[in-house]
Symmetry: C2
Subunit: 227 residues, 2 copies
């Protein structure tokens, strides 16, 4: 399948090679591809520059947000929270409408350092902001509760015995995403978790996730629902 | 042990009999005991009036917030979020200072119906508000992530294989609470979860818990940490 992923950070760098390995044709979208590919310095977290990553992953295409959106039959939002709406605006409604967007972004405010707070939440969410601005895009909030390495390989934590939540307004789009997560990444427990307002719940959960990260000194942590 | 519990709602009505059964001397604190005991109508949720509950649980003492605070060597806050600071002000610093308060309350805003939002969160928490106003009280946020019936009997969900979080500024107070939860209620997995700012995480988690309640149609749901 042709898949477009917005963002060239950690989420895109982990998702794209996995999807290529699974046989998909993947394009990462970024604001300025030439600039992104020219970067040869480590990022703020000490990760290698994108150019080095891309040399190791030559099958992953890189284009503008609009090109990645046009490329994808299925779209994924792997930008930062603040970067999400600008990326989608640059992608353009014509390239988005009628498609499914798996929205993985979280509205983290890192301006005061770690731990971040959420710049939207409680009575609204980033998922809802995106859905409101792009009503003909099928926004499905998913995967935002786990580290990128867990997204594509849930079995690395607790033998895969934990849960992921999928929220969105379109029942068929949610079912497509649920089937995709199970068949491609091996998720066993995927919860059909209400309409897009439920993104308030899974984005709000980041308040707990971030503190677990801090307390346990690892982002490799998630939750299993017990009922 | 003498235990004082603020609030005569569901949390107090479940905690108190269990603690009495365990041999403790328990007093529930309320604004106006005579008025609370005189109630003979069901509450907004259809629960029996307090007077009926008290007839069935005569060993549980009922007093003012100040009397319950004076009575307790250990204190528990089982009021609503909005009721917490007024209850503690009525209890009085003299009856609170130097003691441990297990703060179970959540800052739920039910003014717009269900699902509630949180009236404080993200960069602050109810637990911190209480600790700031009563600096000589050892506030330990705990049990607020589960239904009252799970608080006193964790084994009723998933054979007890799930987690509870304990946050507070005083390490010794936290250890006392952790030991209490294990020995009295049978909690197996109690996480020492940082200082009182971590109450932002466990109160913020209510955003997820409330939606799980809505989606699964039961408050008998919690989480197990997987790492």
């Amino acid at each position: 399948m042709n898949i477009g992923i917005f963002g060239t950070g950690m989420v895109g760098q982990v998702l794209a090679p996995k999807l290529v390995e699974l046989g998909h044709d993947v394009m990462l979208g970024t604001r300025n591809p030439a600039e992104t590919l020219a970067r040869n310095e480590k990022d703020n977290y000490g990760n290698p520059p994108f150019s080095e990553w891309h040399q190791n992953n030559p099958k992953v295409k890189v284009g503008t947000f609009a090109e990645a959106a046009a490329h994808g039959e299925l779209l994924m939002n792997g930008t930062s929270g603040h970067g999400s709406l600008p990326a989608l605006r640059a992608a353009g409604e014509r390239n988005l409408n009628g498609k499914i967007l798996i929205d993985i972004a979280n509205p983290l405010d890192l301006s005061q350092g770690f731990p971040p707070s959420l710049y939207v939440g409680n009575t609204d969410s980033l998922g809802e902001q995106i859905q409101r601005e792009f009503p003909a895009l099928n926004v499905v909030k998913a995967l935002n509760t786990v580290n990128a390495f867990v997204m594509v390989n849930p079995a690395i934590l607790g033998n895969g015995d934990h849960d992921i939540f999928v929220s969105g307004n379109d029942a068929q789009a949610k079912q497509t995403v649920i089937a995709f997560l199970k068949s491609q990444f091996g998720w066993k427990d995927v919860i059909d978790f209400g309409d897009i307002t439920y993104a308030r719940a899974t984005e709000g959960y980041l308040a707990l996730w971030i503190r677990m990260y801090a307390q346990f000194q690892t982002p490799m942590v998630t939750i299993k629902v017990v009922k």
